[in-house]
């Protein structure tokens, strides 16, 4: 029996290690490839670089214009995720007395936004943003992202606010606080874990989103990282070291955040997936 148990544990670790390698080896190769010179790719395809070409990162920053697309990605994601989460919290607070028919209707209205496929709205959105004169600015991405982040935010935050004890806001009301003050100073602070889930969920897709900026970021200097890298590939598709250096730069922020807070990431993303 004891032997059987040991074998079982051994097999389990073997399986999990094998699966982990399937995940890690391809990622490790991209990091290695980002330090290779072009001849290196062909001379030793799966070995370490002969000479570590830090130059790839320098040229990615300058020639592949990663400095611009990285800045755009940061601005777009940070603005959209914070505005969207704040607005979602406001909506959820407004809808927290869900017994009112109008509130119930609005809740369903917002949450059903999850079903709208981006392929269907992207073309009308393109036309709309062109009419507004927003095409060619970062707002062409920020505004739709804010709207698209709302359904998940409302879905996660409304039930959380509904479970808060009513005494909490009543206490504020007795002290003479306005509804807005109650929201800002009483509701938002206790909502922090839920807000974190929403920020992670929406932040990850906004940072990684490719299709929307591919269509809507018309000018080269409004592109975000994924599109910037792709368009660079179109122009210089032999500069592999440089391309992989760009991929590493684009991916590192999310991966670092994930490693630091993996528990919150897994919890937040699963909550969104299971509910969505």
């Amino acid at each position: 029996m004891k032997l059987r148990r040991a074998v079982e544990v051994g097999v389990r670790h073997f399986v999990l290690c094998a699966a982990s390698l399937v995940v890690l080896v391809p990622i490790a190769y991209v990091v290695i490839a980002s330090f290779k010179t072009i001849p290196d790719f062909f001379a030793n395809p799966y070995g370490l670089p002969e000479e570590w070409a830090w130059q790839n990162y320098v040229s990615a920053w300058r020639d592949a214009r990663i400095s611009i697309t990285l800045t755009n990605s940061i601005i777009v994601t940070a603005t959209a995720v914070s505005v969207s989460t704040f607005l979602a919290a406001l909506i959820s607070y407004g809808l927290s007395r869900r017994e009112r028919p109008l509130a119930m209707f609005l809740y369903t209205f917002f949450v059903s936004g999850l079903l709208i496929p981006v392929q269907m709205i992207i073309l009308p959105l393109f036309v709309l943003l062109r009419q507004f004169g927003l095409l060619g600015t970062l707002f062409a991405l920020i505004c739709p992202y804010i709207a698209m982040g709302l359904p998940l935010g409302v879905l996660i935050l409304t039930p959380l606010i509904a479970t808060l004890p009513r005494d909490l806001s009543d206490a504020g009301r007795i002290d003479g606080a306005s509804e807005l003050q109650i929201f800002l100073h009483i509701i938002l602070p206790v909502l922090r874990p839920g807000l974190a889930s929403v920020v992670i969920l929406n932040g990850v897709w906004m940072w990684n989103e490719f299709f929307i900026p591919l269509v809507l970021a018309l000018k080269a200097d409004t592109q975000t990282l994924p599109v910037g890298i792709m368009s660079f590939v179109g122009t210089y598709n032999t500069e592999w070291g440089l391309i992989f250096a760009s991929v590493v730069i684009a991916t590192a922020p999310v991966v670092i955040a994930y490693i630091l807070m993996s528990r919150q990431f897994v919890a937040g993303l699963t909550a969104g997936a299971v509910k969505g």
């Binding site: 790719f41 407004g94 269907m120 709205i121 505004c143 709302l150 792709m230 991916t251 994930y258």
Partner: protein, 305 residues
């Protein structure tokens, strides 16, 4: 207090939804309604000439070989990934749920691909599969398996399976965490009771644990369906907007993109904005019908602990 003031107070909370409602309506609901309107006209995306053509765009899509080929590829990708999720994903979730040492480390690693962008994922696998710089083919020939080397992404037979592997690699983490949270809802006592009744490990899993995982099975199936009916990024990065080679990896997402914005090999005369929107509307209707059907069908077989 006047009646109006009382009214305002009563609905006071609802005013908080207003700023969000503006964004939501302008940038999500209005485009959605516009999509339906634009799908019944003939418009190339520029100027304002548009002729009402009724359901012609839909009729054309539903009689076009390209449309069905793309839809078929979506279905193949969905089914293949579904199998991977419900077998490998479930198996790994069960292993993790046994709480081995370093469980957190394993879980962090196995979930990692989910947070990588599909563009990054595409490049990671380009480095492995590309006939040019790929590391898989030279590796195969160095270990004496050179006969297995393929121009993977450029090969008519292997291109679609390659796309599936890449998409599955990126999405497997979902299956693992969704099944793990499902497994936590399986009461220990039930499995122990079955053990006392003489059920072996496999019987315990198949007759006790697996039926209790049916809610996880349902949500994972529906999520996988929605994700893969919309698949675009991986195909675009790996095999381009025309679904090379010879359209063997063309999916609905790339078809819509190509029809609206063109691609190499598509002349500007071929660009048909409203036809692209009509296809997108068809995808939406198909997605709505199938995911409701899946939800309804799968919910019925769910059991409670």
């Amino acid at each position: 207090m006047t009646a109006l003031q009382r009214r305002l107070r009563q609905y006071g909370h609802l005013w908080f939804t207003l700023p969000g409602l503006v964004f939501f309506s302008v940038f999500l609901v209005y485009p959605m309604l516009t999509a339906f309107r634009l799908s019944v006209v003939d418009w190339n995306g520029l100027g304002n000439e548009s002729r009402f053509v009724g359901l012609d765009n839909f009729r054309e899509a539903l009689t076009s070989v390209t449309f069905y080929r793309a839809a078929w590829h979506n279905i193949v990708i969905f089914l293949a990934i579904l199998v991977v999720q419900h077998t490998i994903g479930l198996f790994l979730a069960v292993q993790l749920n046994a709480r081995p040492r370093f469980m957190e480390v394993y879980r962090t690693i196995l979930f990692l691909p989910v947070i990588l962008s599909l563009v990054a994922t595409g490049f990671i696998w380009t480095l492995i599969l590309s006939p040019n710089i790929g590391i898989l083919n030279p590796f195969l020939s160095d270990i004496g398996l050179g006969f297995l080397a393929q121009p993977w992404l450029n090969d008519i037979t292997w291109a679609l399976p390659s796309v599936i592997v890449v998409q599955a690699w990126n999405h497997l983490g979902w299956a693992i965490v969704i099944y793990m949270s499902g497994l936590q809802n399986v009461p220990r006592e039930l499995r122990e009771a079955a053990q006392i009744d003489g059920a072996n490990g496999w019987q315990r899993f198949w007759n006790v644990t697996f039926p209790l995982l049916s809610p996880a099975f349902t949500s994972l199936t529906v999520i996988t369906f929605i994700q893969n009916i919309r698949v675009f990024d991986v195909v675009y990065v790996l095999t381009g907007p025309i679904g090379s080679p010879a359209g063997r990896t063309d999916v609905l997402g790339t078809l819509v993109y190509r029809m609206a914005f063109g691609a190499a090999g598509v002349t500007s005369a071929d660009i048909r904005f409203s036809y692209a929107i009509a296809i997108a509307v068809l995808i939406f209707i198909f997605m709505l019908i199938c995911s409701t059907g899946l939800l309804y069908g799968l919910r019925r077989r769910e059991v409670e602990a």
